[in-house]
């Protein structure tokens, strides 16, 4: 699904965000990318949704090399991705339904398709009953669930989440984790960048740890820190 070969990213001003990263993520995996602030987690995700970066090396997603992708093809790449952010990224003057439908509308979906696809996506995150609410009327956890529903509504094979629980309390975070796990079970590859020790330790999933732009650890059933946490 995802393969990075000797990838380095340098931001303007010569700051190295990633240096010589090579890794492979298979279809259907659930992977945490962990590390302190500035370790390159967000940059790693940006690579995968093709933000404009100065990249060397090879970034393969679903068999396509993103570093040589024409800018005109970027929108079409992103339609096959779900992206979730720490700040939810919802439009405050649109209802929950409209926010989720937005991802379909902007790629030219018809009204029929929207009515068919939005309710199942809201069902996955358990918010069908709030579909007429505005984001301001929802709790943080609910807003993040709406964002996840929006990311899922196109049935993307890959879901990218950048600090999805960064603004949430532990209990709510766990709820978000359960939803992501559920999405993963349905067949979507999930990649979560986080420094939320709690959810990583709860999940027992693959953990890739970054430090100053390098992969320092890659464990199949890892924890947030090196030493396995004893329950």
């Amino acid at each position: 699904m995802i393969e990075l070969q000797d990838v380095s990213v340098v931001y303007p001003g010569e700051r190295t965000a990633l240096s010589h990263v090579s890794l492979r993520i298979n279809k259907g995996e659930f992977v945490f990318v962990v590390g302190p602030t500035g370790s390159g987690k967000t940059t790693l995700l940006k690579l995968l949704y093709r933000e404009d970066l100065h990249v060397t090396g090879k970034v393969m997603v679903s068999g396509r090399n993103l570093t040589t992708l024409h800018p005109r093809e970027v929108p079409f790449l992103r339609r096959r991705l779900g992206i979730v952010f720490q700040d939810f990224g919802l439009l405050p003057n649109k209802t929950v339904f409209e926010n989720v439908a937005y991802a379909l509308r902007v790629i030219g979906a018809g009204r029929k398709e929207i009515r068919r696809k939005v309710p199942p996506a809201l069902e996955v995150v358990g918010l069908v009953h709030r579909c007429d609410a505005f984001p301001g009327q929802l709790s943080g956890g609910e807003q993040q669930r709406v964002a996840i529903a929006r990311a899922l509504v196109n049935d993307p094979p890959l879901l990218l989440a950048d600090e999805p629980t960064g603004n949430l309390d532990p209990e709510t975070s766990l709820g978000i984790l359960r939803i992501l796990e559920h999405v993963n079970v349905r067949g979507t590859t999930v990649l979560v960048a986080t420094h939320d020790k709690y959810i990583v330790d709860c999940a027992h999933k693959r953990v890739i740890a970054l430090e100053r732009g390098r992969v320092v650890r890659d464990e199949v059933e890892g924890a947030y820190e090196c030493e396995p946490v004893i329950h």
Binding site: P75, R78, R79, I83, L91, Y102, A103, V106, I107
Partner: protein
């Protein structure tokens, strides 16, 4: 399209600000353009009012006079030639006698020594000297006795005409550029207010064209509606001013060629507004679409 309409409604205050700004700047531009255009028309019309007077030798029979008139009419730059007969001149003299209680006609003792006169109006006043030269040429027009032109006055007015054309053109260009900047800046603010929305659209895979379309329509809307308001204001002010002007300086007003119709003024302003609005949003968005 629906997207654009909804955006304008939701962004109430911002839209009002954008509309006001574009309306005001287009009013200034429209008013200035109209004034400059009228000034140019006026300056253009003045030199042409000076006709060349061609006095024919008194003994020339009327048939020959008509022949000369026909030949002058065939010359280049000649707009029209009017015959002012010796009888008309005589009648005018009698009239003058009555008005200023002189007795010139009586002194003439019934004879009419006045010549026939041809008044030549040119299409281009700068050709006055050349045409006058031709008319004075005895070999070509032996019937002509004397040619009179308002040479100095024509030169002065030609100078004014040039000045108005150059300075006015420069002013119009500067104002146009200024208006373009103001409108572009305003629209950039409305685009800036949508930054978050644009970002989300990009992330869920909207194509640049799809993102641009409603914003461009919105920019055009501000330009066109602003232009309609500006057009109404300009036309109203023009109507008021010319009504006032007709009372105060009627002789000048009479010599003005008819103004452009209200629809022309509106159409020109709307076209300018639409172009500036459209360009403004395309330029503003371009910067955005590049940053991601």
């Amino acid at each position: 399209m629906g997207e654009a309409v909804r955006d304008i409604r939701r962004n109430g205050l911002m839209s009002v600000a954008a509309l006001t700004t574009s309306a005001i700047s287009l009013t200034v531009l429209g008013g200035a353009l109209f004034t400059l255009y009228r000034l140019h028309q006026f300056a253009d019309a003045q030199p042409r009012r000076f006709e060349i007077s061609v006095f024919l030798r008194p003994e020339i029979p009327r048939a020959d006079v008509k022949e000369v008139r026909r030949r002058i009419q065939a010359l280049p730059f000649v707009e029209r030639v009017t015959l002012f007969t010796k009888e008309q001149a005589y009648a005018e003299l009698q009239q003058a006698d009555r008005e200023s209680s002189t007795a010139i006609v009586a002194a003439l003792g019934g004879a009419n020594p006045l010549p026939d006169r041809l008044d030549v109006r040119l299409t281009d006043a700068s050709a006055t000297d050349a045409i006058a030269g031709v008319l004075q040429d005895r070999t070509r027009f032996p019937q002509v006795d004397r040619v009179r032109t308002a040479r100095d006055a024509v030169q002065v007015f030609l100078g004014i005409q040039r000045l108005v054309r150059n300075v006015g053109g420069g002013l119009a260009a500067m104002l146009f550029i200024g208006t373009a900047f103001v409108i572009q800046n305003t629209i950039r603010l409305t685009v800036l207010a949508r930054r978050r929305e644009i970002r989300i659209m990009q992330l869920v895979g909207a194509t640049p064209g799809f993102i641009r379309m409603p914003l461009v329509l919105e920019g055009m809307f501000y330009g066109v509606v602003g232009a309609l308001v500006a057009g109404a204001v300009v036309l109203f002010v023009v109507a008021q001013v010319s009504a006032y002007g007709r009372r105060i300086v009627s002789p000048l007003a009479h010599s003005m060629p008819p103004a452009a119709g209200p629809w022309t003024v509106l159409a020109v302003l709307v076209a300018i507004g639409a172009i500036l609005g459209c360009l403004g949003s395309v330029l503003s968005i371009r910067r955005f679409l590049k940053t991601v």
